[in-house]
Amino acid sequence: MTLVLKNLQTCVKLNMQQIGKDTNIIRRLMEIDKVDVSVLFVSDYYITKLNESFRKAEGPTDVLAFPVLEIAEPGSLPSASLNEEDNLGLGDIFLGTAYIQRQCESHGDDFNTVVMATITHGFHHLIGYDHETERQQQLMVKIEGSILESFNKLTGYQCKPLTVVGH
């Protein structure tokens, strides 16, 4: 139920209130507003550390999603909650804010639009979607596209799903 939204960096100025509102809309569209997720905006240094220690990949990246649940079938959440006090937790998403902004500048995109698309991408990873093979990627882009389309209608953004095969 709770959305933990934290800005742990000072490099890029963010409108956290607006991001929180938009994130909640995406959660409602994806029907994961009954479970716990967290979105954290971190610095380049921090995301490089995470990338190195958990993925053995060098350099910063735009988003890292740490799922807690092991979901065999993408999109199916386990229905049983733990107990009254605890909700089901999906996991954490780390966003490399400075990296995203650099990408936006070089591509000429709007920063807020890309952030919302990235958050949606991270949420889809948390509920079991992956893009390691061509087929998985097509499915993921399709689902993400439909979510982002209805999100665009509600808010007036022009988000497009992230597209890439492999890791």
């Binding site: 220690s53 993925r55 735009d62 605890d86 990873h125 890439v164």
Partner: protein, 211 residues
């Protein structure tokens, strides 16, 4: 054959990216490197994981190492740091290693959930930051994790758990305070394992240049 078995093992551990990187190295080296992703130490400077690993090394040298075998120092360190085939039958205070109870710590930024299970994996007791009385976003703090750990340790000690293996999953702020809380209330950690799942990445392709 052995290679394919190892590959499946690595996949089970969620480290297949790492496995691909290390395909050329020899089998023994690869196993050691897989265990060597010591994320606990990377993220935390004053890590009690280091201390407990050191303690574990000392304990094992007392228990496991036969006195007449002279191992080279380097090899011995590696073997005592990472589990081997003999680890499962190792005796710790008269109990086999694989029959020791396990404490699972699931730490996210939203909540910290700690569960004690017996050696087979059947749960004995569970406690989380939510059940201790913290609410909403405060569940994810390190203080909440420590409180949950202390109240779980009471339950565990009532059930006769004193030595335990600890498995940590996730990178919440509560992962180290939970271990600290357990140790403070009298549970001795025999081993600490990082069970964090391989994270997903979502990098974007380069946009094609318009001419």
């Amino acid at each position: 054959m052995l290679k394919s078995a190892l590959t499946t093992l690595c996949k089970l551990h969620g480290r297949h990216a790492l496995c691909q990187q290390l395909r050329d190295t020899s089998v023994v080296q690869r196993v050691q490197s897989i265990h060597a992703t010591s994320c606990l130490q990377v993220l935390d400077k004053d890590s009690p994981g280091k201390k407990s690993a050191k303690k574990l090394r000392e304990e094992e040298s007392e228990i496991a190492a036969p006195p007449d075998v002279d191992l080279p120092l380097q090899d011995f360190k590696m073997e005592s740091m990472f589990p081997s085939l003999e680890t499962h039958s190792m005796l710790i205070n008269g109990v086999r290693y694989d029959e020791l109870p396990i404490i699972h710590i699931k730490a996210t930024h939203n909540n910290t959930i700690i569960t004690v299970t017996n050696g087979k994996g059947d749960p004995i007791a569970m406690e989380s930051a939510g059940t201790v009385g913290f609410r909403n976003a405060r569940k994810g703090t390190n203080i909440a994790a420590q409180a949950a750990a202390i109240s779980l340790a009471e339950k565990a000690i009532k059930n006769g758990v004193e030595l335990a293996r600890i498995c940590v999953r996730g990178i919440g702020p509560g992962r180290l305070p939970a271990i600290k809380g357990l140790q403070m209330s009298g549970i001795t950690a025999v081993s600490i394992t990082d069970n964090t799942r391989l994270p997903f990445n979502g990098s974007r392709p380069k946009k094609q240049r318009r001419l």
